[in-house]
Each structure stands twice: as structure tokens, then as C-alpha cells.
Assembly symmetry: C2
Homo-oligomer: 479 residues x 2
């Protein structure tokens, strides 16, 4: 039997997200439709991250989507980075606009302009705000969820009195992203700093959490930027400081997006379809009557009562009482990533038990009715932990620490290919030059992911130049 996930990961991904009804293509280039199961994943991420924001006193706001052309011209690096991808509104009705308006790719400029009006004194600082919004980046190659022309995200923007406070915010948010992604999405992340060439357009420093997909490729799962006073200077965000002087604020911005949905699927999915960590699964428990259940109404009654109890306890539960065959239903709910399946037929009812199947385990176990809720609760908790642990173990297998030269890297990639394995993440020494990054990218397709905060193995020599390494860096192929 062929294993599509191993044979052709990208085909498996595209088939699975469509068969499982997470998305549909749209008539607009690179824009997808988030169908209810796909969108619900985003809603859960929103709820969860809003908890962090509330705990920090960072409130949500909403800024206009259209950005005047002259705003982009105020920060040189920013416009350079985004210009080729910007869609422009040039007409309304049949009238030409005097100044074209861009569809926001991010809102530093719009929010910077607002901050300059709202922030006057050190008493106004820190000024911290978040926005959930749609953004647009017309990229050449698109991939559902991971790279779409329109996507959904949150973007936080803050202004501070000094560098230290701004850096604390940048770091704290990065840690909140790591916490969300590891403990809610069950995806282990690599925390670190981006190299200058991979920084956000206009940032002084960019930090990221990177995730490894099942095929060994990387996804930049969240980024947090320290802007220094660059945007403050461009948009005149000045305030009267404690010494009664007008000085520039230090700003930050940070974001996570619907890319996380793609990562979720690529990290946990299997040959049968989607696998979701219970905390985010749109269907945590599916109840399926089996055997000649239609002749025995007590079965559906039992499951309905069980559903009510479980829903009251806060679980997301569905009953599948359609006319489809039991086999079809089992496949369907495995495909859709229901975390646990509970079956009940006439004999089960007689024995006062149900059969319980956890999505990522092989065995099916009989559980007495009076232990069922407790059992489900325990299994959901265990599954959440297990998915994270499994991903950690897989990551470990695909991390490589002993590659010292570009030739060794090429040999490693070739050997991996021969063995039908992923080349994974490779930890290298880097002399800090852009030439090294460029050459690696051109010759292998690997890009620098980040300079880890905690270096697993210190590398002393640059992979390409052989010069002394300034940093130890993760490199990988990336989505």
C-alpha cells in the first residue's frame, strides 16, 4: 500500500484540506475560502490569544484597511520590502482617485500615523494595541493557508519610553506565541533571532518561532519585531519624556496568522486525514450509533443524553445519525480529525458500555457508561500531550548538528533524497555575512531560519567560508 503522505507530501496536503472540507479555492488568484471547519480553527486561536492580550491589558482595535500611497514612502525599507506585492485601489465607481490606496500588507504605517497623534507624554506610554484583520500580499507562489494573497492575522503594535521596555514587550510576545503554539496547537517551536536579511522590512531586530513540518520543512509560525525608533522617526511618534524633552518612542510589532492552520495540518495530519490536538479540534468527540441502531431508539437517546452532558461540560461534540454506513462515518470523522470517536450499538447498550477510539491510537477500548466522561476527559488530555511529544521526537530525528561544510550539506541532502527522507533542520556555523546565506540558498534551497536563543551545539566555523562563526544558525527549506 502506498503512503501518499510520504510519497508526495504536498499532494497529500492539498488533497486532505479539500477532502476534509477546510477550504475551497476561489475565483480570485491566491485567495481561498475558509470553510467552517477551517475558520473555526482560527476562531479558537483568536479566543486563546485574546486571553494573553487581556492578561497583559492589550486591547483590540480596528484600523482602516486602505493605506494612502504617501504613507509607504515614509519608511524606506518598509516600502522596498512590500512594494511589489501591494494591490492598489485606483478608482471608485467610475472615478479615478487622486491618490492610490494600498490594501494593507501590515499596518505599521497606518498605526504609526495614529500613534503620532495619540501619544504626547510619557504618561501615555506604553501604548499597546492589537488588531485582528485581513491583510494582502500578492505573492507569486501561493499555497492554501500557508501563503495566500489575502490572509487573516493579528498584528500587535506598541510604543514605549525606551529600548529596554520595548525589547521586553518583543520578547514577552514571542514567548506567548511559543506557549500558544506548543501548548495549544501541540507544535514544538524553535525560538530565535532572524538574520538581518530575513528581518521584517523596517525592523531593527526580528525574532521568530519556527516550526518543523512532517516533511522536515520549516514554517515561520510567528514573528515579533523591535523597531527601535525607525517608525517613530518616519511617523513622528514623539513624546515629552520625564526630563521634559521631546523624544522618539521605541516601537514594536508582532503577528501570527492563518498560516498556523496550515502548520497544524502539516505537523499532525496522517494518512487517514487530519489530526487535531483536542484543545483546538472543531469536533473533540463524535458519537456514532452502530449496528441496527434505528430499530433500537434507546441507543440514540443514550448518545443524545451523553452529548448534552458533554456539551454542558464545555466539550465540542457531534452525533452522526446520518444514513451513511458505519464504515463511511468512521473514515469521514478520521479524515476530519475528530479527536475521539465513541460508538454505541445494541450489545454495548446491553452491557452499559461504549467503544472508544482515540484518533491517533490504534486500539479501540470498551468503557463502562459510568466511567465514560472521566475516561474521555483523561484521553483528551493525554492526546494533547502525546501529539506535542511525538512532534518533539520527530523533530529530534530530523535535526542535524554535524554538518560542517557546504559539500557535506549537499551530500546530506542527496543522501536524504535517496533514502526518501527529509533533510530536516541543519544547525550550522555562520560568519554573519549575507554571501554565505545567499550561496546556501542558491545551491541547496536552504534558508536561515533563526539564531536560536538556546544553542544546542555551538558551531565554530562558517559552513561556506570556513571563517570563524559569529553565530550558530538553523537552516532549512521553508514554506
Amino acid at each position: 500500500m502506498t503512503n501518499l503522505q510520504t510519497e508526495d507530501f504536498s499532494k497529500w496536503y492539498l488533497q486532505t484540506i479539500q477532502k476534509a472540507d477546510l477550504m475551497a479555492y476561489s475565483p480570485v488568484r491566491g485567495c481561498i475560502i475558509f470553510k467552517p471547519d477551517g475558520y473555526e480553527l482560527w476562531e479558537h486561536i483568536q479566543e486563546e490569544f485574546n486571553k494573553f492580550l487581556r492578561s497583559e491589558g492589550i486591547r483590540n482595535a480596528y484600523f482602516p484597511m486602505l493605506i494612502p500611497q504617501n504613507f509607504f514612502q515614509k519608511e524606506e525599507d518598509h516600502i522596498e520590502g512590500f512594494a511589489p506585492e501591494l494591490p492598489w485601489v485606483t478608482e471608485v465607481g467610475s472615478e479615478k482617485l487622486e491618490e492610490p490606496l494600498a490594501l494593507r500588507p501590515t499596518s505599521e504605517t497606518m498605526i504609526g500615523s495614529a500613534f503620532s497623534e495619540w501619544i504626547n507624554s510619557y504618561r501615555d506610554l506604553p501604548y499597546e494595541i492589537n488588531q485582528w484583520a485581513n491583510v494582502f500580499r500578492w505573492e507569486k507562489k501561493t499555497l492554501p493557508f500557508l501563503r495566500t494573497s489575502e490572509f487573516l492575522w493579528q498584528e500587535g503594535h506598541t510604543a514605549h519610553e525606551n529600548e529596554e521596555e520595548a525589547r521586553v514587550r518583543t520578547e514577552k510576545v514571542l514567548e506567548a506565541y511559543a506557549d500558544l503554539i506548543e501548548n495549544f496547537l501541540a507544535i514544538p517551536v524553535y525560538r530565535g533571532q532572524k538574520t538581518p536579511s530575513e528581518r521584517f522590512a523596517g525592523a531593527v531586530d526580528t525574532y521568530s518561532v519556527e516550526a518543523m513540518m512532517k516533511d522536515g520543512k520549516a514554517v515561520q509560525a510567528g514573528t515579533s519585531h523591535y523597531m527601535g525608533t525607525k517608525f517613530a522617526e518616519a511617523f513622528d511618534i514623539r513624546y515629552l519624556n520625564r526630563e521634559n524633552k521631546h523624544v522618539y518612542a521605541h516601537t514594536t510589532s508582532w503577528g501570527i496568522s492563518t498560516r498556523l492552520i496550515g502548520s497544524l495540518i502539516m505537523v499532525h495530519g496522517d494518512e487517514q486525514g487530519l489530526v487535531f490536538p483536542p484543545k483546538i479540534a472543531p469536533t473533540q468527540i463524535v458519537l456514532i450509533p452502530v449496528g441496527p441502531w434505528k430499530k433500537n431508539p434507546a441507543i440514540l437517546e443514550k448518545l443524545t443524553a451523553l452529548k448534552t452532558d458533554l456539551v454542558d461540560k464545555g466539550y465540542r461534540v457531534r452525533i452522526d445519525d446520518t444514513d451513511n454506513s458505519v464504515g463511511f462515518k468512521f473514515n469521514e470523522w478520521e479524515l476530519k480529525g475528530a479527536a475521539i470517536r465513541v460508538e454505541c450499538g445494541p450489545r454495548d447498550l446491553e452491557n452499559e458500555q461504549a467503544m472508544v477510539k482515540v484518533r491517533d491510537l490504534d486500539e479501540k477500548v470498551a468503557v463502562p457508561f459510568n466511567e465514560l466522561e472521566h475516561h474521555l476527559d483523561r484521553e483528551l488530555t493525554a492526546m494533547q500531550t502525546r501529539l506535542l511529544e511525538n512532534a518533539r521526537l520527530r523533530n529530534k530525528e530530523n535535526e542535524h548538528y554535524d554538518i560542517e561544510t557546504l559539500d557535506e550539506l549537499k551530500a546530506h541532502i542527496e543522501a536524504s533524497k535517496q533514502a526518501n527522507k527529509t533533510p530536516g533542520f541543519v544547525l550550522i556555523g555562520w560568519d554573519g555575512s549575507e554571501e554565505t546565506e545567499k550561496q546556501i540558498k542558491e545551491e541547496t534551497g536552504f534558508t536561515t531560519r533563526n539564531i536560536p536563543f538556546e544553542v544546542p551545539v555551538e558551531k565554530t566555523v562558517d559552513l561556506v567560508s570556513g571563517k570563524p562563526a559569529k553565530h550558530t544558525v538553523w537552516i532549512a527549506r521553508a514554506y
Copy 2:
């Protein structure tokens, strides 16, 4: 003392929403910034309406914002209605697009095209979906919250087997809007059917809930449309029915928007600022230490403990321990519409009590600490009911049933003006002709609001033509 709200309602509105920090103007024509207190109102409306959607099994999804030009050409009335207000993306980067893309003013076309692919059999019906999104209508005259070039809304779209089921959905949603607006926002509404000239572009029937502002003008607060098979024909939404024939589905759509925020302010606000029904107030309870509280740390400790208790019970509570004067704080929180203010100073602490002031009541009462939580709970509930009742009473005063001719209407308007009163809502007889509507609008600025489901007084003669009335209709000036 002048009363700005009575003297110049529009000036009062614009001043209040800015002073209370609900919004800010943006550099983009007609687009506003929803600041945190303004945006939070929308978040509460979302949470509340999502409960209805969940109870009906209607799930949220997200569709692309950009709509290809050819989509608009498929339904004649639809394009005619929206064409003048559509912003167009014509370029990306520096390249011209082959086909311009409109910024959605509403998504019937995009969702209709998706429905035609997703709906194949009667087994797929009803197909019911909702979207929370930003939409664009470049209207000539804009007003913060009530009419902005970009606004936020929810749009529900459903497809059904037959007219009856579609009409049931249309009506049920309208009733859900009425319930939300009356029982959550404390705004009484007028339920009814729009006249043909006021229908949604492309609808067979449009129903609305209308609200009366404090100045007597109307706001169309929510609409629900029965489309018949018009959009199904335009987008080929056909399905195999129970008789194995391919037939068109019957569709509906319905929406409420950030206009509701404007209505909320215009219905409940007073000279001191915002007044919010407790269920939606961003600050339900504000705790303010008074007297020489800084010398007596036990006061702030007491308030902090109280806050913790109240937050645990699910209330939205703030403590104002800034350096501002007490007088400033009282004004500030009245302006921002905190529903209840709790004060505690040294003597209160000694007497184990706090002073409680409800936003819309004059007296301030002493409440023993041990009765405080119960008292606050009761007062919040009472305030919610009272605001709705007060609005109902005011509406009654501004409803006019005895105006039989256009001359009488003009005289009524003139008399109201002389008395510095609003002409309010006027119930008239209507012969069903567009000419009547046109003449009333041209000569008085009044427009037909809706044909009420429950007619308070049956009118028998058309206001303008004197012909027998086909309908009894509410007319008013409207935002």
C-alpha cells in the same frame, strides 16, 4: 445652561464619541479608526450574535474580500445598486490586472458562486453560513459608525429547497436581530417590511428592524432579505430535488453592522456623555478611591479585593487609581459610560460601606460592604430594563398617528421645529406607488422606513394622492 444634545444633536454626537475615545478619524476618506472602547462594543455584539448562530447550527466562514468584476454583472439589480460605490483594485505592484477586482460591498456574488459548486442535492440543503467581515461602500456623506466607507458587519447567506423554508429563515433572523437589539442593546425596534424602492439591490423582499434615535431620526438597524431564486439563477445554484429534478435554490441574506454602535450612542447617550446598557458596557463597574486614600492603603486594598470578586463573577470592572482629581474621574467615567460607579473613602471604610452611583440615576446611595455585590447585580439588571423602557416611552412620545395629508405633515414638521422638538416617526397611509414616496422625500426629507408587521393604527388613505391606502407605513428622517 445650554444643553448641547438638544441644541445640536449632531455636534453632541461627534464631540461625545471623540471625547469618550470610541473612535478617531483616519487619513482615508470616510474610514474611521475603531479605538478599543468602540471596538469592544462590536466584540460584545459578535459574542452575543454568535450564540444565536450556534443555536441554529449556522457556522462562520470567511470568503475573499476581492470580487471579480464579471461577478457583479451577473445580477442586474445588484450591480445597478452598488456600482457607484465600489472601490476597484486595478493594479498590483506596478502591474495592471487583467480584470479589476472590487472591494466587497456585500458577498452575495462571491458566496453565490461558491454555493453553486457546493450545493448539489436536496440533501445539502439548507446550506447556511455566516461571515464576520469588513465591507466597503464609498458613500458621499459619511458619519462615524453610522455611515463609513469601510465598516464591519456580519452577513448571513443561506440556500433552501423552497420559498417557505427560505422565508422562515428570513423571518427568524429578523426576530433574532430584534431580540439582540432590544434585549442586549436596550433599543426598541420597529419590525416590518421595506417598500420596493428601499429593498436591497437584487432582493425579492427586504425586512428591517428600525430604531429611533433620541433626535427622532431613524436608523435601519438590521435587514433580512428573501432573494427568491434571483441569485440562484444568476449564479446557477441548482440542486437535484426530491423528485430528481434540477431546480434553483431559494436564497436569503441578512446583516447587522457597526452602525449599531452609532445607534447605541444616539439612543442612550446624554449630556454627560455615553450611557451604555450594562450588558454591553465596556466598563460595567468602576471603582474609585476617594478622600485621602493614598494615606490609607486599606482603601485601595479593599477595592482591589472587590474587583477580584466581581471579575470572578464575570463583570467588567476597572479601578481608577490614577492621580487625577476625584471630580475629573467622576466626569471621565460618566463620559465613558461606566454603568455603575463605586466610591470608597476613609469614612466609608470605617463604616464598612461604599457609595454607589448608577450612571442614569441622580441619587448616590450608601451600601454596606456585605450587601454590595448583591446590590450591584440588582442595579445592573434594573438599569438594563430601565434603559429599554425609557427608550420605549420616548419613542411613544415621538410617534405620530394622526397625520393624513402631505400638508399636515409639513405643518407638523414646521410646528416641531418651532417647538425645538423632533418630528419623529409618522405613520401614514400609502397607495403603494413610488411617486408618493418620492414626493414625500423631496418635499420633507422623510423616507419610508417600513410597513410594520403589527400596524398600530390602520391608515386608509394615501398621504399624498388621497387614494385608498394599500399599506400603513412608518416614515421618518433617517441616518
